[in-house]
């Protein structure tokens, strides 16, 4: 369940209650496939609170479980695939990038010397996920000749609803990798970033970092592939995610990457699936449009027929949207 974006206040969601039935034991419920579907009774639309969305629509637009009926199944297979990948590539080296217990990176080393490195920031609605869950994303890169570094950082549940510590940790992790790349035979001048979901919000904040203050070059990140993220926190703040993130005006302003485009020195690839929530599709589209308008290098990839979690799965797939984009960005020879 490590990949889930379920906001904690909502419990398992309407759909989560039904998803398991698809796995086997089958009651006489008429059409079995209905067991995977979220029942959504018709209701009257309320006053608009954001664009053309009323409050419930906005809340739903920031609740992946409403739009991804198979979230639970995907979490199951991710866990199984992670075990398989770990058994193939072995456990990573776990190294501290900061003073607190969680400030660790998992380093999956490739065999190639002075290799490029992909730094990964996981999703989970800022609440869930640990670096250990992502060996499954590491394997294709390690085999293709790149190091893979999965960043651990606090959950927003551990920071009293404050997103600043999470962003600060991810920024310091990147600076640490730059300074210490040689320690794992990585090339500090070939660092790349990859992320999904709330991790892409954090990655958006990372690419707008004032690197000089951290003592690393402006172009420390040579490229970034951000899947299914949020780049403007205003509508997020208006949604039910406010129940567990203590948004402030300062936080909304500083941690909305879309408002700091001038600081970006990294070419970006933005990805969303056509089955994601309307807001998660719009966030990527609008961020891409803003970057383009500012003359910054950006590519928007739309994955037809993929929901939020299915887009994430493609990081571990060299021939699907996120994996292929990252491989191409890093100029890896993936076969």
């Amino acid at each position: 369940m490590q990949e889930h974006d379920h906001p904690s206040d909502g419990g398992v969601s309407r759909r989560g209650l039904f998803a398991g039935a698809a796995a086997g034991a089958l009651a006489l419920t008429g059409e079995p496939a209905a067991a995977q579907r979220c029942p959504a009774p018709p209701r009257a639309k309320g006053p608009l609170v954001w664009l053309d969305l009323d409050q419930q629509e906005l809340d739903d637009a920031y609740d992946q479980s409403v739009y991804a009926f198979n979230a639970k199944n995907i979490a199951e297979r991710q866990a199984a695939n992670n075990e398989l990948a770990l058994s193939t590539i072995g456990k990573p080296e776990r190294v501290a990038y900061g003073p607190t217990g969680i400030e660790r990176v998992d380093i999956y080393k490739t065999k190639r010397p002075n290799a490029p490195t992909l730094i990964f920031i996981h999703g989970g609605a800022w609440q869930n996920g640990r670096s250990a869950n992502f060996a499954v994303y590491a394997e294709p890169f390690v085999k293709a000749g790149a190091n893979f570094v999965a960043v651990d950082f606090n959950s927003v549940r551990e920071t009293n609803g404050d997103l600043f510590p999470l962003v600060d940790q991810c920024r310091r992790a990147v600076a640490w990798v730059y300074r210490n790349a040689a320690s794992f035979d990585g090339n500090p001048d070939a660092l790349y970033l990859c992320s999904r979901s709330s991790g892409s919000h954090l990655a958006g904040c990372v690419v707008v970092t004032e690197w000089v203050k951290l003592g690393v070059p402006l172009d420390v990140l040579k490229g970034a592939v951000l899947g299914s993220g949020m780049y403007d926190l205003k509508p997020v703040r208006m949604s039910k995610r406010s129940a567990y993130v203590k948004f402030t005006d300062d936080m909304e302003q500083q941690l909305s990457a879309q408002r700091h485009i001038d600081k970006i020195n990294t070419p970006l690839v933005l990805v969303h699936g056509t089955l994601e929530t309307p807001e998660f599709q719009r966030q990527s589209r609008d961020f891409a449009a803003s970057l383009r308008a500012a003359g910054k290098p950006v590519q928007l990839l739309v994955a037809k027929g993929y929901n939020h979690y299915e887009v994430g799965e493609t990081i571990g797939h060299p021939y699907a949207v996120l994996g292929r984009a990252a491989m191409e960005m890093m100029k890896l020879n993936f076969g």
């Binding site: 796995a23 991710q78 076969g335």
Partner: protein, 312 residues
């Protein structure tokens, strides 16, 4: 808003209510349950979406790999196959047999499976063959075609740089059924070829005993006979199986498709033949095949390992 939002809503339909159970027709199933157990759409809510992404990925793969060689293995117009060539000389060959309830699917729509093999150093051959409606409901016609296609590849592999002594077969869904009939073919009697033409096979989400299939609504479009049921149930010809098998299914498949795989693998093992049962946790029928197109996916990894060309 956009079309894509509407298509997400497709997955949110309400469930109909319960109904009384009818007389049992197969194991613990009444007719409606058996029919549903042989109807993927009843269990895979995202069937249309997975198909959509398969077509996009196949177009992408053809753009990346280039158009395949198109070669004829028989006289009929449909009796052709696509060869996606690897650069390695005298390379192993994987022959893929597509699914589609025996009714649908064309080789070009499965190009996305080729990249895994081609990049790992194997040729990927994807078969075209007739569909059950064009065959007048006769499943034997389809089985004969795929068997003769495999025989053709064995005899002609060298013409496209393939090594006939390293020929592997894979199939999914009704193509898993047909691949089962390939590994259970009588190569000597029917083709005058050695019994070990196929060196390994991956059968995913298939049917290996046609008895319950015959009892289901699929009888409406497949003209089952006793002979077809007997000859084309791989489960009943275990003695002919001469290569290691990988049998796969997903835990979100219909109960029958799960059982077919489990029972077949158990029978093959009981006959003392090498078989590996692969269970895809959290995958439905269509999602299972997607993992064959990923060298690090459940099926892709297993197929490459079986061919002795592990993911790079």
């Amino acid at each position: 808003m956009t079309d894509s939002v509407l298509s997400a809503d497709v997955e949110r339909k309400a469930a109909p209510g319960p109904r009384p159970k009818g007389p049992l027709v197969w194991r613990d199933m009444d007719q409606q349950e058996l029919d549903a157990a042989y109807d993927q759409s009843k269990y895979a809510a995202n069937q249309a979406q997975v198909q959509e992404r398969r077509l996009v990925a196949s177009a992408r793969a053809r753009a990346v790999l280039g158009e395949p060689l198109r070669l004829a293995y028989g006289a009929g117009a449909i009796e052709q196959l696509d060869v996606y060539r690897t650069t390695r000389a005298n390379a192993p060959v994987n022959v893929f047999i597509h699914g589609g309830a025996w009714r649908n699917g064309r080789s070009a729509d499965f190009a996305y499976l080729a990249e895994t093999f081609v990049r790992a150093g194997a040729h990927s051959v994807i078969l075209d063959f007739t569909n059950i409606d064009a065959a007048g409901g006769n499943l034997m016609t389809m089985a004969k075609q795929v068997r003769s296609a495999v025989a053709w590849v064995y005899k002609n592999a060298a013409s496209f740089g393939g090594d006939p002594s390293r020929l592997h077969v894979s199939g999914h869904s009704s193509g898993g059924h047909l691949a089962g009939t390939v590994v259970a073919a009588d190569w000597r009697k029917d083709f005058g070829l050695p019994g070990d033409v196929v060196k390994g096979a991956l059968l995913c989400s298939g049917m290996y005993d046609l008895e319950p299939v015959r009892l289901s609504h699929r009888s409406n479009y497949v003209k089952f006979t006793d002979e077809i049921e007997q000859e084309l149930s791989a489960l009943r010809h275990l003695d002919r199986i001469a290569c290691p098998l990988i049998v796969g299914y997903g835990t979100c498949e219909t109960p029958e498709f799960q059982r077919q795989a489990r029972d077949f693998a158990a029978a093959v093992a009981a006959a003392g033949k090498p078989v590996q049962l692969l269970v895809g946790e959290g995958y439905n029928h269509f999602e299972m095949l997607e993992t064959l197109g990923n060298p690090y996916g459940l099926l892709g990894r297993a197929a490459l390992a079986q061919m002795g060309i592990p993911s790079v």
